[in-house]
């Protein structure tokens, strides 16, 4: 396990390094320096910026400074809001996105697993069709459509929940549901398949032959084994939720990082775009790392692989 984790960790570091380097050189492919692309930067500030970011030095030296800045968490200054650093904006807006993301993941994973388990146990029943229907919606309808539909129906028409904005918990309900939708449907579908697979395994027959009750068999022998393949897709699903916040925050006017990010694309605020990209990438790569470790922890075949004991 130690070996495995270490290997994953090294991979994570390399991936982050590749992303950062890629970002740096991509940034320098934009004609001119990042501060000339928008005419609204006053000359004085521009000079300061150039000096501060050493943009007058050779590329490789700049790369060094850039890495150094990154390690110290300095992502640069927003070109739109010249008095604010990208770090500031992230610090201020990330918590809303974070809350939204966490709520959606929890919602998606818990209900996804639940629906999948029930659908498999009651194969061919109403629940099975319901979860199949959810899965079809989940893979085919883009989340911005689902979000808009929920907003128009539950908020504008029925007035059960606020249309948009951010504040108390009730503001988070619709966006969380919209954001978790595809995760929920994919997990429920995978869990269903995986459960059906496990139900047919010989060790379930062994468990039954031991005299265990149906509930004991489901809980101790089926779910634990069936969850394994689902964990492996958790990484991409989390990535989907994170990128999903870009549109969901836009639609529900949530002052989160996703909204700022998309706005910065409209505004061509390059330093904001690049800083945020790195921030997102690092978060996601770390998440994937954690998912890998979690997988290792629940699967003894990985946990005990060579060097584990």
């Amino acid at each position: 396990m130690l070996n495995y984790s270490l290997k994953r960790f090294v991979y994570m570091l390399i991936t982050i390094w590749v992303i950062v380097t890629l970002t740096f050189f991509l940034m320098h492919m934009i004609p001119g320096d990042p501060f000339t692309s928008e005419k609204k930067v006053p000359e004085q500030i521009r000079q300061n910026m150039l000096a501060k970011y050493h943009l007058d030095k050779p590329l490789i030296v700049q790369y060094g400074y850039y890495l150094n800045n990154l390690i110290h968490g300095d992502l640069g200054i927003s070109l739109k809001y010249l008095n604010r650093t990208v770090d500031d904006i992230i610090k201020q807006s990330a918590p809303a996105s974070f809350q939204l993301g966490i709520q959606s993941i929890i919602l998606g994973v818990i209900f996804g697993l639940l629906f999948g388990i029930i659908a498999a146990l009651k194969r061919g029943g109403g629940w099975d069709y319901f979860s199949m229907f959810l899965a079809i919606i989940g893979i085919s309808v883009p989340n911005f459509i689902i979000a808009t539909l929920l907003q128009l129906l539950l908020a504008s028409k029925l007035r059960w929940l606020p249309v948009s904005g951010w504040g108390s918990f009730k503001y988070t309900i619709l966006p969380s549901i919209a954001l978790s939708f595809s995760t929920l449907s994919i997990i429920s579908r995978m869990m269903r398949t995986s459960m059906l697979d496990v139900i047919g395994q010989d060790y379930i027959k062994t468990a039954k032959a031991k005299g265990l009750s149906q509930l004991q068999i489901i809980w101790k022998h089926m779910v634990r084994n069936a969850i394994m393949p689902v964990v492996t897709v958790l990484g991409p699903l989390i990535a989907g939720i994170v990128t999903g916040t870009f549109v969901i925050e836009q639609i529900f006017s949530i002052p989160g990082l996703g909204k700022f990010f998309v706005q910065s694309i409209y505004d061509e605020d390059y330093s904001m775009i690049l800083g945020t990209t790195i921030f997102y990438s690092v978060i996601l790569v770390v998440m994937m790392f954690l998912v890998d470790i979690a997988y290792g922890l629940i699967d003894p075949r990985v946990r005990l692989a060579k060097g584990g004991k």
């Binding site: 060790y203 027959k205 062994t206 032959a209 031991k210 149906q214 022998h221 075949r301 005990l304």
Partner: protein
């Protein structure tokens, strides 16, 4: 066997599967008994209903698609075919233990061996978790797994095939059941390991005085473990007798075919192995006559038209074949010749 008590009595069992393609009549009118302390073998080609028969006794098959159509199963004086699922749960694992064919897939890959053994103890006996683990460890000793202290915390993938089957035996015997059903326990193992597992089962049977039902498609395996043998074909029992009767005086052409097609550990003559040509009939629509007719070299017109009745050769030896009918021509029994001329 006469003076021993009956432990399991299966009467006219019929078991089917309702699939989208129709009813699979997997077990058709099967009756047999197992005595206390006896070891019985059920043999036949794969797909002939051996596993389904025993799973019907334990009611392990999900229903649907499985369906208990008819019959009575009496175990230790109780009619368990009338039991509720909950009552069955108290029998499974405690009074009847079962071992399956493939030790690679029969153990839960994400649970330690110790927990898997302790689980069955905890289910049926009022003991603490620690006590259950202690007994699990003792069971590992009993089935001949060394280093039980360490082994108990390992996962199935850390065990070899033979070790896993030993662990399965430990699970099946942990609650000292009266009956052990072993469904092809050695089929998936190497030949040398097979012999070890068979020896272990024989030893444990003597030690615990358990009755054993051993399912196998390999007559060689049962030769020295079974007292009595049931030969099944296409969901029916076509011949049954003591081990001696089946090996020395087999009466049914299918049994002859089986004996010729398996290498026998005890056979002195190095006769060529002759596989039985063809495949067992479709159980969706079993033939009206003798199910073996299409593959039987001795088949007569009547064989295609009606099922043969059972004929008693001796008290213990029964066979279902039209060759036993008084009208039938006398055919040379290839095994009688061997038994009386070459050895006698």
């Amino acid at each position: 066997m006469g003076d021993r008590e009956v432990l399991l009595d299966v009467q006219n069992l019929e078991y089917s599967f309702d699939t989208y393609a129709g009813e699979v009549k997997a077990v058709r009118d099967v009756s047999f008994q197992v005595m206390k302390g006896e070891s019985l073998a059920i043999v036949g080609e794969s797909g002939c209903g051996k596993s389904v028969t025993m799973q019907a006794v334990m009611r392990l098959n999900p229903e649907p698609p499985g369906r208990f159509k008819a019959g009575k199963i009496i175990f230790d004086g109780r009619e368990i075919s009338k039991f509720s699922e909950r009552q069955m749960q108290s029998i499974r694992g405690s009074e009847i233990g079962m071992i399956f064919q493939d030790p690679m897939t029969s153990l839960n890959p994400t649970m330690t061996i110790g927990k898997q053994i302790a689980e069955v103890i905890l289910k049926h006996q009022k003991v603490s978790k620690a006590e259950a683990m202690k007994r699990a460890k003792e069971m590992l000793d009993v089935v001949g797994i060394p280093n039980a202290d360490r082994r108990i915390n390992q996962y199935p993938h850390e065990f070899s095939g033979g070790m896993r089957q030993r662990a399965m035996i430990a699970i099946a015997l942990a609650c000292r059941p009266k009956l052990l059903i072993a469904d092809e326990p050695t089929t998936a193992l190497d030949v040398t390991i097979q012999a070890q597992i068979l020896d272990l089962m024989k030893d444990l049977q003597r030690e615990f005085n358990t009755s054993i039902i051993m399912i196998t498609h390999d007559l060689g395996v049962v030769a020295d473990i079974a007292e009595r043998i049931i030969v099944m074909y296409a969901g029916k029992i076509i011949e049954t007798g003591t081990s001696d009767e089946i090996f020395k005086h087999p009466q049914h052409p299918y049994t002859w075919g089986l004996l010729k097609s398996v290498p026998r550990l005890d056979a002195q003559n190095k006769e060529k192995l002759v596989p039985i040509v063809g495949t067992p009939p479709d159980l969706f629509a079993p033939p009206v006559g003798c199910p073996f007719a299409a593959r039987c070299n001795y088949a007569m017109k009547i064989c295609y038209e009606a099922q043969p009745e059972y004929t008693n050769e001796t008290d213990s030896h029964k066979v279902a074949c039209w060759l036993k009918h008084p009208y039938a021509p006398k055919v040379k029994n290839p095994f009688e010749k061997e038994a009386y001329t070459s050895e006698g």
